[in-house]
Amino acid sequence: MSDELMSYDAALELFDPVLGLEVHVELNTASKMFCGCSTAFGGAPNSQTCPVCLGLPGSLPVVNAKAIESAIRIGLALNCEIAGWCRFARKNYFYPDMTKDFQTSQYDEPIAFEGGVDVEVDGETYQIPIERAHMEEDAGKLLHVGGSTGRIQGADYSLVDYNRAGVPLIEIVTKPVRGTGAKAPQVAKAYVALLRDLMRALDVSDVRMEQGSLRCDANVSLMPKGSSELGLRTETKNVNSLRSIEAALTYEIRRQATILASGGRVHQETRHWHEDGSYTSPGRSKEQAEDYRYFPEPDLVPVAPSAGWVEELRATLPEPPAARQARLQGEWGFTDLEMRDVVNGGGLDLIDATVAAGCAAQPARKWWTTELTRRANEAGLELDELAITPVQVAALQALVDAGTLNDKLARQVIDGVLAGEGEPAEVVEARGLAVVSDDGALAAAVERAIEANPDVADRIREGKVQAAGALIGAVMKEMRGQADAGRVRELILAKLAQV
């Protein structure tokens, strides 16, 4: 599909992209935005619904205080102003996933507005101006039945589960982001990654993109180089992984450039990202603009956070992610490259906790970014979903430091911990994995290895110390790995009088 498109480099020679990002964050409140139903993910269909979130005649909403708190904290973390007085508004449109056929949202009075954050890409800083962050509610989930694709097009009918209806959302909208040049897709990705980290640090959302608790709509338009007039934009909906944000925007920039370069016109429309084929396809045209008939929600009263309350909430804000990263990198002495791997791999918090549990920074980094990352990838899990805790990793490293375990044994201990066999020390005990430190047993094994490999022994005697590796391997093999390779080396060299 992308074969017919202009190359990305060619596109960027002709045009400057302008980004606009709308990110929906599902809050991790226990109950919904306007009722006492649980927000837990994955419940039986329609088991988390009540008269309010079903929009039954007569039912009325009451605002969740925690959602307001989270909204204000998010606003503050995005360096926004917090409204002294604002209202909810009804956004009126008919759709089967919305029980009231209007969404309770905010319109011209968002709770947070006029902020901004910086993101870094390849060592360069880009400013992302934030227009607003407002509160609203999620809709129910549609399941399309019949037809070939399971998609809405061609379906015979649809089934609706309203468990997500009424879950609190914060919608964060940027102003047009200019001046990113060819880096636009990466800047967008870095911005969403930053939001994800920020929401996690604030503990306001689970930010699981695959469960839809963080969703991104990516707008992009192109300006001819040298022009400052905004082009017509497209909005690519529900781009639900960091990778696809970059890929979808790259695709859209190439697609739009191809149209514009051939004298065509970009349609202002929503588009859908197809993860499988890596392309976007047209959705609803925005040229017949929807008329949402917004008006202030008469069933709710205004929200007027006092300055005192806002300051109290400001005091609860965690260290901004960028500042924290810089601080930790300094404390840990990681190189830029090491730090980037840690952050991109989602290991920052885990390493921080491991270090806090008494482990040195480098081994903590090594475990999380190599061995444990590999296991997470194999299991299809996020790093923090692995069944091993930072405290356990610190305990494991303590055993290595004490000489009880070598690297190979430590990996077997990880197997045991992940298999639920208990703490590292318990796994060592139960599996009998400790390094053999009995010199008698080791000396005997060394003896045998020398006898079995006289040539090698001779070379060592002649001073070719590096040849000891073959004998160490033989001894380790006999000890089934349960020996400290360093000690074995010492014994071999002593025996062959090379010390």
Binding site: C50, H144, G146, L159
Partner: protein, 98 residues
Amino acid sequence: MAITPAEVGRLAELARISMTPDELAQLAPQLEVILESVARVTEVAAGDVPPTSHALPLTNVFRADEVTGSLPVADVLAAAPAAEDDRFRVPRILGEQA
């Protein structure tokens, strides 16, 4: 301020109410009369008057973030015109979400 049946038709579409041509033709002049009469509000609505959306000036009415329980699924679906697999069954949807 003439309201044509076609305009009423557009509003009816927006409000998702199917109406016969007769209904539209009857409603148009009625709307016109009503709108002419209510347009009086603009006579006195000066720019500096603040709007009132609620009769009484309450603010900050919140509930604690507590799970208070949901309806049994059987009750949820009891009035559904159609249901399947504990979900509401609805006719196929043509348009996309806003």
